[in-house]
Subunit: 337 residues, 4 copies
Amino acid sequence: MIVVIKPQTTKEEIMKLKEKLESPLCSVQIIEGVSQTILGIVGDTSTIDASVIQQNKCVEKILRVQESYKRANRAFHPEDTVIKVGDAQIGGDKFCIMAGPCSVESESQIVEIAKSVKASGATILRGGAFKPRTSPYAFQGLGMEGLDLLNIAKKETGLPIITEVMTTKYVEAVAENADIIQIGARNMQNFDLLKEVGKTRKPVLLKRGLSATIEELLMSAEYIMSEGNEQVILCERGIRTFENFTRNTLDLSAIPAIKKLSHLPVVVDPSHAAGLNWMVEPLSKAAVAVGADGLIIEVHNDPANALCDGKQSIRPEEFESLVKSLKGIAEINGKRI
Amino acid sequence: MIVVIKPQTTKEEIMKLKEKLESPLCSVQIIEGVSQTILGIVGDTSTIDASVIQQNKCVEKILRVQESYKRANRAFHPEDTVIKVGDAQIGGDKFCIMAGPCSVESESQIVEIAKSVKASGATILRGGAFKPRTSPYAFQGLGMEGLDLLNIAKKETGLPIITEVMTTKYVEAVAENADIIQIGARNMQNFDLLKEVGKTRKPVLLKRGLSATIEELLMSAEYIMSEGNEQVILCERGIRTFENFTRNTLDLSAIPAIKKLSHLPVVVDPSHAAGLNWMVEPLSKAAVAVGADGLIIEVHNDPANALCDGKQSIRPEEFESLVKSLKGIAEINGKRI
Amino acid sequence: MIVVIKPQTTKEEIMKLKEKLESPLCSVQIIEGVSQTILGIVGDTSTIDASVIQQNKCVEKILRVQESYKRANRAFHPEDTVIKVGDAQIGGDKFCIMAGPCSVESESQIVEIAKSVKASGATILRGGAFKPRTSPYAFQGLGMEGLDLLNIAKKETGLPIITEVMTTKYVEAVAENADIIQIGARNMQNFDLLKEVGKTRKPVLLKRGLSATIEELLMSAEYIMSEGNEQVILCERGIRTFENFTRNTLDLSAIPAIKKLSHLPVVVDPSHAAGLNWMVEPLSKAAVAVGADGLIIEVHNDPANALCDGKQSIRPEEFESLVKSLKGIAEINGKRI
Amino acid sequence: MIVVIKPQTTKEEIMKLKEKLESPLCSVQIIEGVSQTILGIVGDTSTIDASVIQQNKCVEKILRVQESYKRANRAFHPEDTVIKVGDAQIGGDKFCIMAGPCSVESESQIVEIAKSVKASGATILRGGAFKPRTSPYAFQGLGMEGLDLLNIAKKETGLPIITEVMTTKYVEAVAENADIIQIGARNMQNFDLLKEVGKTRKPVLLKRGLSATIEELLMSAEYIMSEGNEQVILCERGIRTFENFTRNTLDLSAIPAIKKLSHLPVVVDPSHAAGLNWMVEPLSKAAVAVGADGLIIEVHNDPANALCDGKQSIRPEEFESLVKSLKGIAEINGKRI
């Protein structure tokens, strides 16, 4: 339920109203926009009598939110959410590029790639320490050591870090060592993990599951937000279809859909979607053009010998030329890279 | 099988070689590129002894084409195919916009829309005379009368016409009255229809079936081309997936995929893909950015009262602003609108 | 719209009511069940005033049919439709097995297989004369000669024939030479073809398209029925999904769904669904158990050298053992083979 | 890699060979079948020289396993795995029926249902204590209290319990309180959870993910087995497709596929697949007929007021009649209920 506050209402009056509305069954959140303040009420609102609230002199109107996602709903938060991490910004008038290897392999590897992608225009460094692999016999990532290496690269370059966490056991460690916590596609409905990262105060990048609907993605964001962490970045990374020329089918229509339904920023992962490095450039351009807030791209200095996903990684020099090609399109869409 | 001819070989020598290779089992096609001439051999090539041909002094090298599509294969025709229709051009350095109503409803409707989309930058007029409808009780199009109305609009504006044919019975009539023949998604594997339009000498726009793979789309193009009609335009219009926020899922990765596999031009239909008029703009931008050769867009002067697909049609004024927003992106990709 | 007639109403009264209801916009059909007679009204029923009809003394109640399919709707025809072809019966208390090769190759092949499958329990002979093939260079069937060979096999065995028609051009020829006309999955929405077979008086087996919903399948049946041909047999033959161990995913839940929504009989094609001959037996058993009215199975006397689909064909001796294994399950479901 | 041992080889000789083959890189497992003993080698087998092993006099032949799943592979374990839990048996010549409510709601509810399903023929009681729900605001299950209530029902009826675990945090508690641990579809690739239940010695029922391929399901089983827990039961519960008449599309062809690729038992969940209680019976019959080893069915004494999934639950009296209808089909397939 949303209570739209009349302009010129004082903060005091708003706080009074908030207190009145709060109950053991409902929590109330004040969302201050540039031109409007609203109160978002989440919980069992069935017992609230809207006509009584309506009589309050500072109330302009009352809206019921039909969708099951409340905090992630644009109705709750009409303005775009903008997330700032160090010098990087996701959402708003900037276009954010996250880049780095699929998995952290060694100090020299991660530091070299970090320096290179920073020089080309990336503002966030990605790198996997814990790797979800289909086979138990495949390389599972360097684990805690990987987190240390990422931090060395951070010190060398100043780039904030994004890395994946796969289990509640490591949420604390990843929250301490990373600037953005990534939830992978396979864990999009690992609800305990979502709640756990919701308790941290680090931004969370939530990848869409392989066969998740847009609504389910927003419901998973709601799990994180319901624990108090409002800094959620959504990520489209391809869905599973019958087409098998590409590994997955990048659903770019999800970007305008999410923008309409939610205020959260959304980025695109063209590397995992197609699984083909030569497709990263055209798909990245399309992602910028369709209105995404950023990209997360796999860059490796030696794709042929990468410990994982070499086939979809681009080389640093390709990344440099890619970023250049995106600038003009971003500007047309009113974004700076 | 492909025979690459050495540079400086005379036309006479090439013709001699062609004759030698031809047989009741194999047809040979000469493809002259800017820098290279090749002979494409289609049919049962198993009896051809490559080592014998290799000895011919004008032969540079011989390649076997693994894919089942031959004439549609880029290996057969390394340079992009460019199709010209009146003043319009599909492929090459121009970006082509086809626009018009889902179905032709009346003279005033089609003429008014034609004038308007021409003024905004469209170079081809679309309009359905024969409509494939899920229900036998729904409006099935004006039929032959629709073709006449399209031609009135053509006379008024000079815009070439594209319209769909649904059955072999009307191929002749449509070929006579239209500049481009459209094969709809539901008929992508209506093989008799494909052969029939392959016998005409009019360009054919072939839409990808709702659950067709990229390879199957190219095989259907091959059906048309195997009858001698090389002017095929492919069209991505969304595939069927579990996601139901949009009517279908626009597969933009199909564009670079097709460009790699084939020399044929490819356009995007964002109207049918999403089924939502407010998504036409972002998806059109993405289509330009990903490297498509054109767009086919539904424009209606009165979407609320359209006889079909009103929900996905944009108004003439929205179309005008859309075309403007595409120009910059097209230029970045080296295309002119 | 459905008008349920009171018991004991005379035929004369019903005919009178029918005449009253008929108009240029609406056609009325009398459906006489064992215990109940109803009038089904198809067309633009928006102008009919239900309250006026209700006052007629022979009217029990009036129902509006929400679904877009009317004649195919169970509401229109509460009792199961049973189709009889020679000695064979599709629907009702019999379980019908259609069997034969993917394509007719020669007289000896089709006659030999026909004799063998008849001896094992098949009551209808299948065999392709016109073959829809993905590649224009693949074997396209024997055409009219194939129809002749099928008729020789019919004469030898007495088995009625089912064969596919792919284009309106051959509908007449196939209708004359076959007992059941098959519409393939790729042509499920070839609406002109549907209308054309709707004008014949031969039963039509309509295969579900690779990505067609159950509702769309019923709408395609409606196309046939709207032309006056009520003898439609539906066929589930696998849908396209991400799983690629099997060629398609057999959707057996479609059988009870169709039975609920429609009165038409429905059969299962396990051969095309899985594309794997060793899966034909378990899937056939499941089809019987789930409530299908029949099976259509590919049987070839020399699968390794079949001109098409050898990989999914079973041998005559396997077919014999298959039919035996189905009898018990059919009996449990109240059906005789 | 598989080493097939000659008949009449002594246990001592086999143990000697096993020791020889073991290394820090490879673990060796002895699989004793009725007629044959084999050694399965898992790990980095690239350094093993097969020709040297071949010379060992007790070695009949050596096979390399191409699939990424080893312990789950039928090549590793040619005979069917049979799992016994109390009086229940999953796999082999018995058909196992697990039944109970979606979620445990109260002592009287679970005890009443347990008694009823036992009387009808169920041999295992299902009931959710921890519930994965799309919305954070939906009922999440009774948690630990639910486990206690399940155990009360177990004491009353003697039925072993199966219940889901969603997070590593509760694996110990669930392993102590349940007889079979369930991993839900959404957690099929929650690899840390798989490893954790792999460390317990309780059978694990692993549900196929909504868009998981059969191969990925087997790889997830491999995760559990690679930790030493060989008692894995696979479960088909519907995959996500474009069809939306049913909630998901039950993929019954997965059953014979899994039986061919793996030795693990496989059960079917018709309740979650269709999401429609009236479809449970036909789909259950089909599951028995296609060769499944069991069913897991939602039964609720008051579906209309169930705290979750009421729409797909059947009533105890419907369950009773269902079990009766399955017996004949099971017998035909050589299974006893």
